[in-house]
């Protein structure tokens, strides 16, 4: 099982606008170990989605380069699969045929892809829904199917763009626990953009806190907590507080406004 080691060398992204150029991302240098779980948090406009799109090969840096396992990213590739907030399942395909999709287009024989897809469905606990269609399932189940579809092609890296953003709080917590379990089993490199600070502390080995104007990585917070993690431990709380502080969302005693 291969795991991607990702190296970003002064990756920059600029957009031409009517009023000149906007720097969406300024000189990001970063190294992500193979099998590492990294979360990107930050306010909107900090370039975290841009960064993810560049890693996925959907977008290209204006300057600098991205290497995954020593190969420069020059477009979307099967070994780096992205999960989206709105799942993106094929509504006309059954759950099983959705999970099979990646194997089907890479020419895996029917028998084998069926077996592999069923294994992945088992992993997300939905093998009994193989013959259902996506619209018959809840949002949380649909995202688990999308995860199974990604895992089916045995990628080296999974990118996630606010994967649980559309789900209610309880479903989200359940899915985070499931993702943590699957990650520990499969040890894929995962890079996950999130708005949910608790989610980042629960899941990540490292949290990259990003900032705006220009979009950049402001701080890297390692999360040395043992797994499985307890959301209610004081250490968890301490780290969560630190992320809040880095995002300038903590108002200790002094108000950040004047009357």
């Amino acid at each position: 099982m291969k795991q991607a080691r990702i190296v970003l060398r002064s990756v920059e992204k600029r957009f031409a606008t009517r009023s000149g150029t906007t720097v969406a991302l300024a000189a990001v240098d970063l190294e992500i170990r193979g099998g590492e779980f990294v979360c990107l948090v930050g306010p909107s406009g900090c370039g975290k989605s841009t960064l993810l799109n560049i890693l996925a090969g959907f977008d290209f840096p204006s300057r600098g380069s991205v290497e995954i396992d020593g190969a420069i990213v020059d477009g979307p590739q099967r070994r780096v699969v992205t999960l989206f907030q709105s799942y993106g399942l094929f509504p006309w395909r059954s759950v099983l045929r959705n999970v099979e999709y990646g194997l089907e287009v890479s020419g895996v024989p029917r028998r084998q892809r069926r077996d592999q897809a069923m294994q992945c469905l088992d992993l997300v606990g939905l093998s009994s829904f193989a013959e259902h269609h996506p619209h018959e399932l809840s949002g949380g189940m649909q995202q688990r199917i999308a995860l199974a579809r990604a895992l089916a092609v045995d990628p080296e890296c999974i990118l996630m763009d606010e994967p649980f953003g559309a789900l209610d709080a309880i479903t989200r917590i359940k899915l985070q626990e499931e993702l943590a379990r699957i990650w520990e089993e499969k040890r894929k490199t995962i890079i996950c953009v999130t708005h949910d600070i608790e989610e980042s502390v629960f899941l990540a080995d490292r949290i990259l806190v990003m900032a705006t104007n220009p979009g950049r990585v402001k701080t890297v917070i390692p999360v040395p907590l043992p797994r499985p993690r307890s959301r209610t431990s004081p250490e968890f709380d301490e780290l969560r507080r630190r992320v809040y502080a880095e995002l300038e969302l903590v108002h200790d005693s002094k108000p950040d406004f004047e009357i």
Binding site: A56, F58, G75, P76, Q77, R78, V80, V81, T82, F84, S86, G88, F90, P91, W92, R93, Y101, G102, E104, V105, S106, S128, H133, P134, H135, E136, L137, S138, G139, G140, M141, V153, L167, D168, I170, T171, K174
Partner: protein, 305 residues
């Protein structure tokens, strides 16, 4: 369709158990709603059945009555306006001697050939044009220029180029149904969710796979709607097309009845055109709903099951 006999079921029906998560799935809510409705009392079922059948039938009944009254009023001669009974008599005649079936058969054959051609060509070209944005920009002006022209405007040229008989009739029907098929397919392809295309690319799909495994199925429900519209247009212009020297078909029947001043036969032909058109529409409507259900899309408006 009659409701199944749930009347004996007392009290609220149990909701179907489903191992879903905390979040309510729409499907569960819908099913619960449906079973609650089905378990209501017999009286309301009777009312519903009456409502379903009697109301639409009453409109037709009113039309027939008004027609009969107009025919009896003496304002018009029997040649100008034959009554419903006379029309049915004329119908019985051509039904008995089998000519009706010959004409309906001839019309359906022309219709099917032209519609199949227009559908195949329209959808195929629509896929190409919808997928290749540049190509569409080149051809869009041509299509926009030709589309508003009524197929009837082509009549003289159709006869000049294609002679009289089957071929110009098929050409006219083709023209009427080609543009709706083409344009709805182009629109459907261009409206495919870009997220699905992204995902397909992410999995390393070849362009062929993207088109066949993602674009075609994603666009299909909307293409089906276009084919439905095309079918209506094809049937409307069938009658006109068959006036171009065809020796059979419902359009010919109309012209033939006119030439012999058989207005009773003419009105019967009009009725048959309406009934067959309605049947075709219902058939494709049913196919469309099946597609929608299979695709997991929202059912078309007016879809009551």
């Amino acid at each position: 369709m009659g409701a199944p006999p749930y009347a004996a079921d007392p009290g609220p029906s149990p909701q179907p158990a489903r191992p879903a998560e905390g979040e309510a799935s729409d499907a569960i809510a819908l099913r619960a709603l449906a079973s609650r409705r089905a378990s209501s009392v017999t009286a309301s079922q009777v009312t519903r059945a009456l409502d379903r059948w009697l109301v639409p039938v009453s409109g037709i009944a009113a039309l027939v009555l008004a027609w009969e009254a107009a025919a009896w009023s003496g304002r018009w001669t029997a040649e100008q306006l034959p009554g419903p009974i006379a029309v049915l008599g004329a119908g019985a005649q051509i039904l008995a001697d089998g000519t009706l079936f010959v004409h309906v058969g001839a019309s359906l054959a022309r219709f099917l050939v032209a519609y199949a051609l227009a559908g195949t060509l329209g959808v195929t070209l629509g896929l190409v044009f919808g997928w290749r944005e540049r190509l569409w920009r080149a051809f869009d002006p041509v299509v926009q220029l030709l589309r508003p022209v009524s197929p009837i405007a082509w009549f003289p040229l159709a006869v000049l180029w294609l002679g009289i008989g089957d071929v110009p009739a098929i050409a006219i029907i083709f023209l009427a149904s080609f543009f709706p098929a083409l344009l709805s397919t182009v629109a459907a392809v261009r409206r495919v969710d870009p997220l699905l295309l992204r995902i397909a690319r992410n999995f390393g799909s070849s362009e062929r796979d993207i088109v066949l495994k993602v674009v075609v199925p994603a666009a299909f429900p909307q293409v089906a709607v276009g084919l439905h519209i095309a079918l209506g247009a094809a049937w409307v212009y069938l009658v006109a097309g068959e006036m171009l020297g065809a020796r059979s078909g419902l359009g010919f029947l109309v012209m033939d009845a006119r030439n012999f001043l058989r207005t009773d036969l003419l009105l019967f032909a009009v009725l048959v055109i309406g009934v067959v058109g309605l049947a075709l529409d219902k058939a494709i409507g049913a196919a469309e709903r099946r597609i929608y259900r299979a695709w997991g899309a929202v059912p078309a408006p007016g879809d009551v099951t």
